[in-house]
Symmetry: C2
Subunit: 222 residues, 2 copies
């Protein structure tokens, strides 16, 4: 088995997935449902950001969450505690979500009655960037302890997202992370990306992010 | 393109890779060369641990490093500054290393003249766990800011490693990470794993880890 054969298979999968993603995105648009694909490294704070975002927007929007995990239910349980509908997809080893997996989650939801569906993708800065999920918007989190060099190392992820949430700003005093240096590196890849600095622990910066997201959703669904 | 077809391809790739890994491991053993496959999330401290380990062991062992990165040279440059031979593999989008990629790196080294070769795998807790690189030993880093629930979410990675380095212990006071809770979760998957708590920033705990690794290498190569 040579490396070349693997690439060919992957390209086939990617082009089939891209076509299915476009169809799904169009169908959700017709239903006036906004879908956010949230990506990040393990432990960057995806579930924490969802909890803060739910708290900020639950009076304005009808929200549901699809949680993807290789082999646990802990994130979906945290979301369910808020009373928001939460679906757990167990990928059993898959390192990313594709459209066929997302559709299994959507089938369990009444999508036309919802304003926003958040997908929490697998914790991984590599593979999820390659697979369009059919989401209306791709969002990523970078947490301060991961370091400001990550845009150099995972360029596809930083290139494809419409917004970047820099989380764990409360760790900044302990870290050599430079928001300015990180931003310069990100803008080289993606000049128009929106950047929000937050701490999901203290709540710092959540209002600004939530207001921006609410405006994006409203312009899509109203 | 259904999910089932993807799985079949993956299994073919995995079994071919496993056979090649065994052959490589045996060949390195004959040359009395120890190879460490170092895995972790993005930003957990792989390069920092290598720099600390090189500092601790460079007088005892002949060391080289193979750095894997999707699209940059920053890590290999940091290693090269120590004067240790450093090879950069650019994977151009691949989310893990397999044996064929590792062999391209080894071809650039005089392996029989080396005691230890460190492979810094792609920053990813999912895919690298599935691909045997042919290394003598698999090691992983979990950093404190990632959280103590990671063993629940990435069980294969925690199951296959012989040692776990818990890095960024200097962040512990700011975090709700519990070393005890994490250890309980890890031991359920992998009762015999060696666990080291370190801070690559302060140097705390590096001596203990380096002494253990030196003993493992010596029992393999002498």
């Amino acid at each position: 088995m040579s490396k070349i054969q693997l690439i060919e298979v992957k390209e086939d999968i990617l082009s089939d997935n891209d076509a299915a993603a476009k169809t799904l995105r169009d169908a959700l648009k017709k239903e006036k449902t906004f879908m956010v694909n949230l990506m990040a490294s393990p432990g960057a704070g995806k579930t924490s950001l969802l909890l803060q975002t739910i708290r900020a927007l639950r009076n304005d929007l009808k929200i549901a969450v699809i949680e993807a995990d290789i082999d646990s239910m802990v994130d979906a349980e945290k979301i369910a505690e808020t009373g928001i509908q939460s679906i757990q997809l167990r990928t059993g080893g898959f390192c990313h979500l594709d459209v066929s997996m997302v559709k299994k989650g959507l089938a369990a939801l009444d999508t036309s009655a919802l304003d926003v569906i958040f997908i929490e993708n697998i914790g991984n800065l590599v593979c999820p960037a390659e697979f369009d999920t059919g989401a209306t918007m791709d969002i990523m989190i970078l947490s301060v302890p991961e370091g400001d060099d990550k845009p150099l190392k995972y360029p596809l992820m930083f290139s494809k997202c419409q917004a970047l949430i820099v989380n764990k700003m409360d760790y900044l005093p302990l870290s050599d992370f430079s928001v300015e240096r990180m931003e310069k590196r990100v803008r080289r890849l993606n000049p128009n990306i929106k950047i929000f600095t937050v701490s999901c622990k203290t709540g710092e910066g959540i209002d600004r992010w939530a207001a921006w997201l609410l405006a994006a959703v409203n312009s899509h669904i109203r």
